[in-house]
Symmetry: C2
Subunit: 340 residues, 2 copies
Amino acid sequence: MVSTLADVARAAGVHPGTASKALNPDSRHLVAALTVQRVLEIAAELDYQPNSLARGLRTSRSFTIGLLVPDLTNPLFPPIVRGVEEVLGAAGYSALIVNTDNDAKKEMQLFMTLLNRRCDGFILATAFRHDPVVEAIAKRNIPAVLVNRSTESHLLPAVAGDEVTEVRVAIEFLISLGHRRIAHVAGPQDLSTGYIRRRAFLAAIKEKGLDPKECPVAIASGFNEEAGKDASKQILSRLGKRPTAILAANDQLAIGVIDSLTSFGMKCPRDISVIGFNDIPRMDRINPSLTTFALPKHEMGVKAAQILKAWIDGTSIPEPSTIHLECPLVIRESTGPAPA
Amino acid sequence: MVSTLADVARAAGVHPGTASKALNPDSRHLVAALTVQRVLEIAAELDYQPNSLARGLRTSRSFTIGLLVPDLTNPLFPPIVRGVEEVLGAAGYSALIVNTDNDAKKEMQLFMTLLNRRCDGFILATAFRHDPVVEAIAKRNIPAVLVNRSTESHLLPAVAGDEVTEVRVAIEFLISLGHRRIAHVAGPQDLSTGYIRRRAFLAAIKEKGLDPKECPVAIASGFNEEAGKDASKQILSRLGKRPTAILAANDQLAIGVIDSLTSFGMKCPRDISVIGFNDIPRMDRINPSLTTFALPKHEMGVKAAQILKAWIDGTSIPEPSTIHLECPLVIRESTGPAPA
DNA sequence: CTGAAAGCGCTAACAG
DNA sequence: CTGTTAGCGCTTTCAG
């Protein structure tokens, strides 16, 4: 059905080895210009397409990368994926993309199948703070870059937002609006995005001299709206004065927080200001529109891909440290002055 | 670094061929139970992982499928992708996912690279009404299924919504609210989703006895908000009585329509009712929340994957016709009674 | 039931 | 500059 290199060689009256060299830009110069010409013509005529499997087997380079994301339907990830593909696609790589649903077992299992497919490298948006897959990758010395999340043990390079700064900016902004009682809805603590933001919140509260007793933290069971609603209710049901602002660890949690308010007879931003993280699509159109940090999602994908490519190419072996990208605070309707 | 079948065979004191049979569930029965046991143990011990490239080269089955989507950041597609992966992933397939940006040249080029990777089948969410890639696939007799979009020449099976019915339901619903002047913002006419919905609109208008002169159609240059805004402005700037309702060919266009209203001093749904298509995420939270058809995106992916799998397995060769899935109309705030 | 041998399609050393 | 050879790691006939 499809023609092979041997077919081309035969039709061109040369040896397969010669045809191979003629077809490959890097080794073309080893073949007479006329021969190259002829082989190229015949190849085009026969609609020859090299078999990547055979080439990969021979060269042990598959030009495939593995891309692990928690869930493609979370709008945070598609822009990252596109950034990755933009860079790596241009370099001849294709991406095997899998969803792990934040399930460590599934993550390991999917990683193994990708490994068997001899991916040349990996990009992981799925890392837990302690992640067996990351350890397995580091042990085998396979090129891989983390994105959005980082691990406790800095085994691999990572690209993420500058969360500590962002949290501080959020607190400063809320203080400037007159808020003194600021709560935090944190994400799961086995993820860096849950843990680091919570730690940064605690630090910022202290640094700004706010009363920790009036700045409670609730840990959501997942980065979704329902969990945000639950955590928010926990905060608002406490005895004592309620907070006037809540910093949520991502946009979905923030939406959950806003949803929770009605059952307390409260409204955002009248009674409570809410800030999210990431600026996923359409946060400018929900009601109220959400104040949040615009994570440079596409750029993160690009950056991670560039690092990975350089590593695979052997151009530069990256430091296993985190690159922090700046995220501007986008101020919208969900934040306002603290109620009197 | 990684151990091969030969390593396992040597360590187990058997021939590689025997080890292969022992490791493969289908041929295991040809090997003595004791030998199987030993090989399995050694394999586990050495952490043996079969090389998919080598296996694929030998068997000409890569257990990879190619998944072409226009743009992963369009929230319509991730749920479809997840549906596909759910079915095919469970069957041992991995998906190479690429974005074509509705660029025919890019589509062909990406398809070729996927073909070289010897994908066992394809799922295309990218088809144009006349699509060279679809023709190339059909000519080569490669298993492939279209999703969401179909082609004019029914060369491949497709899974899509029941657009003709939906359009009729939309018109009937608007008529029941008292609307008589209903316009349509159509999508690009080189896509089935643009073309079929426009034809169905024309047919429904006629069928219901509405005056075609008062039911104008504008064709948007793309399925995005900006194009929807432009097309809407075109409709609203016409001489004569303005429509009281606009059916948009998808949700993004509908949002564009709603955005366009302010510059005409109009409001949705007070002056104009708007209906979209697909029910992408958060259409329930924008302002006004959008009345739209809930496309069963995940289910479409599942269905398409099932058809593809059966085809690849040789279990059943599908008819090259379109399977229409029902889409319920979700009524929200963007539709209301026609103004007096 | 196990071993031997061949070959999937390609590239890379080496020899001529 | 071209041809020869070998082999990547696996499966699959075919003998034994």
